[in-house]
Symmetry: none
Subunit: 209 residues, 4 copies
DNA sequence: TATGAATGAGCTTTCATTCAT
DNA sequence: TATGAATGAAAGCTCATTCAT
C-alpha cells in the first residue's frame, strides 16, 4: 500500500493535535459538502472548527491538507467498519450482511462519501495516490469476501469476474450517495439494499449461464 | 424536462457562435480534465480555444457558462448516440447492443464523462437542474429498452426493479470512466463490456430466484 | 474665448455628420443622466443612437468626445436662448424676465444641466477649459444685463458686486437642477422663480444698506 | 434621519479600524480630488493609504465604501463644526458669524466639498439616501438659525421663504468650492464672505418690499 | 500555543477602441 | 459609409498563507 502522508505540524502535543484535527475534519466535511472544496475558504474552515486562522495553520500546511485529512479519516472509518463484521466468512449470508452493512454505512455518511469522490482530484498527486490505494483496500475487502465464497464452493468466479464483482459492489454503494437525488423518491434505503443485493447475487450466481 | 439554459452572447452571427462555442467546449474539456474546473482559468480557456480573453467573453457571460456548455454538449451527444441504435427493440440482443454502444461511447469520451460527473456541482443551480434532467433523460432511454423487453416477455421486472436496472447500467458505464485507473490494467474495454453485460443480464434474468 | 475643440471624423459628408452628432448627443444625454458618464458604455451610446459601435467611432475619436459634444451642445443652446430675449435692456423688468426665462430653461433641461455640472471634470483638459469658458460666457450675459441696469441708474453696484450678482443668478438657477430632490416637494417652478427673484432683487437693490 | 450605513470589516480591533479608516479617507480625498472617483483605482487608494490592496479590503467591502466613508466623514465634520458656534442665537450678528464660519470651513475643505457634490451620484442607493439626509441636516442648521431670528423679530419670513433662504446659504457656500476657478482671481475669501453676506442679508431683510 | 492583521499573486470580468469586410 | 467581431489592458476583489505579538 502507498505510504500514509505525513501532515506537518508546528505543535508538539500529540493529543492536542488529535483533538484539533478532529475539529478540522468535522469543519471540513460540513463546509466541503455545503460548498465544495474550492469554494470553502480556510477562514471559514477555521471558524467552523472553532479557532482562528492562525491556529488552523499550526495544524496543517496547506488547504489541501484539510481535504487529505477528511478523505483519510473517511476511508479509515469505512475500512474499519467493514473489517469488523462479525460474520461467518465464505457464505452467501455473510456476503449479504456485508453488503447491507456497507450500504447502511454509506447512508450514514452520505456527505463524506460525496465529498470524497467529488474532490479527490483536488488532492496533490501524492495524497491522491494514497487515497486511491485506500479505495483499492476497500475493494479488496469485498474481493476477499467473495473469494471466500468461491473457495467454499458457493460461488464460481474466475479472477477477472471476481474483481469486477467486488468493484460492482463498491460502485453500487457509492451510487446511493451520488444519485440519491434520483433515488430517494422511489426507494427507502432498505428497499434499495434488498433490490441491489438481489440483482448482484443473481448476477454472480448465474454468471456463466 | 427542465428548460434548456440560454447562454447570452454579444455576437449576432449564429454560425460564428456555433464555431466559437465548439472551440470553447473543446478547450474546456481539455483543461477541466487536466486541472479541474476551478483550477482552469478563463485566460487559459481562451488561449486554448485559440482567441483572446475578450473574445471568449463575447460568447459567454461567466466562467460557469463554459462548464454548462461542456456538460450540455456531452449529454446531447450521449443521448443522440443512444437514441439512434438501429436495433429491433424488445429483445435481449438489442439490449446487449445498446449496452455495448453505451460503454464504447464512454470509452471514447472518458474525459468528458469524468468532467461531467465531477464538476456538475459547480454549475449554478438552474444549470445543474437542467443537467440532472438530462441525466434522467439518459436513464430513461435504458428504462424504455428494458421496458420493451418486459413487454415482450423476455424479462420479468416490476417498476422498481426496472428503474434500478436502468440506473445500474448508467452507473456501471460511468464507473468505467471513474475507475479506469483501477480497471485498465486488468480488462480491455471489450472484456469489461462482456463481463458487465453478463453480470447485468444474469442479474435481471433471475431477479426473482 | 477659448477655441472650440475640433472633434475629428472619418466621414466627409458634413450634413451627415450633423445628423449623426445630434443622434449621438441625444443618446449621450439620456444615458449620462441615467447612469453617469463612466457607467455608460460606448456600446450603449451607439445602440441608443441607433447605429453600430463602428459607426459611432466614425464620428468621434474617444468616448470623451461624446461628453464634450453633449456639454458643448447644452451650452450653445443655453447661450442661444439667453441671447434672444426680446426685452428692453437696462430695466428691472427685463432683468426679471431674463431670470425667469433662465430658470424655466433650466427646468426644461434638468438632465442636461445635471450632466454638465457633474461630469465636466471628466473632460480632457483642453475640452474642460473650453466648457468653462462657455460657462463664463453665460455668466457674462447676466453681467451685461445687470451692467445695463447700473448704467441706467436702476441699480448701484461696483465691479465686484456686479460679478458676484451675476454668478449668484447662474448658481441659483443651477441649484434648481441639483437640489430639485429637496425642492420639488415645497415649490413649483413658478414659486421658486418668484421667491428667488425677490430674494435676489432685494439683495442687489439694497446692497449698500 | 436615514440610518447610518454600516461598512463591514474583517478586522476586530476597533481602534485599529478607526486608524485605518482615517488613512483610507485621507487617501480617498486626495485621489478623488485629483482624478475623480472612477479614475482612482483601489490599488492607488491602498497605496496612498500606506498599505496593500489586501489590507484595504480588510476595512471595506467595495470601492464605493471608500466614497461613502469620505462623504460621511466630511458631513460629520461640517455638521459638527456648524453645531458648535458659540453665539447668541436669534441675532443678525450670530447669523453673520455662522455664515462666516461656514464659508471659512468650505475654504478649508475645498477638495472635500468638491468631491462630495460631484461624486455623490456614484454612491449606492442606500448610501446616497443617507448622504442626502445629511445634506438636509446641514440645511436644517441654517433653517434653525434663521428661524430664531424670525422668532426674535429681527427677520420676517414665512415657511417657504425661510427654507429657500437656508438653501441659499448652503448653495452659495458650495459655489465657492465649485467656482473657485472663476472667483479666486477676483475675490479673497474674506471679500467673498462679506459680499455674499451683504447680498443675502439685504435680500432677506427686504424680502417683502 | 493561539491570534488575527497584513500581504500580494492571481482571479474573473469589462469595455474603449480597432480594422477587415 | 457602415458593421460588428476581435482585442487586451486594466479594473475590482478574493483568499491562502505568514508572522509579529
Amino acid at each position: 500500500m502507498t505510504d500514509k502522508i505525513h501532515v506537518e505540524t508546528s505543535v508538539k502535543d500529540e493529543s492536542l493535535i488529535e483533538i484539533r484535527r478532529k475539529q478540522i475534519i468535522r469543519a471540513g466535511v460540513n463546509l466541503f459538502r455545503e460548498k465544495g472544496f474550492h469554494r470553502a475558504t480556510t477562514r471559514e474552515i477555521a471558524k467552523a472548527a472553532g479557532f482562528s486562522i492562525g491556529t488552523l495553520y499550526e495544524y496543517i500546511r496547506t488547504k489541501e491538507d484539510v481535504l487529505y485529512l477528511v478523505c483519510d479519516s473517511i476511508f479509515n472509518e469505512v475500512i474499519d467498519r467493514l473489517s469488523h463484521f462479525p460474520t461467518k466468512p465464505g457464505t452467501i449470508e455473510s456476503l449479504k450482511e456485508a453488503i447491507r452493512q456497507y450500504f447502511l454505512l454509506i447512508d450514514n455518511m452520505l456527505d463524506e462519501f460525496t465529498i470524497m469522490y467529488q474532490e479527490t482530484k483536488s488532492l496533490p498527486k501524492e495524497a491522491m495516490q494514497y487515497v486511491l490505494s485506500k479505495e483499492l483496500e476497500m475493494v479488496a475487502i469485498f474481493q476477499k469476501m467473495i473469494a471466500d465464497c468461491v473457495e467454499n464452493g458457493v460461488l464460481d468466479l474466475n479472477e477477472k469476474e471476481l474483481f469486477l464483482a467486488a468493484n460492482h459492489l463498491a460502485v453500487q454503494g457509492q451510487s446511493w450517495a451520488f444519485r440519491k437525488w434520483a433515488m430517494k423518491h422511489r426507494y427507502t434505503i432498505e428497499e434499495y439494499i434488498e433490490l441491489q443485493t438481489n440483482l448482484f447475487l443473481n448476477g454472480v450466481l448465474h454468471f456463466r449461464n
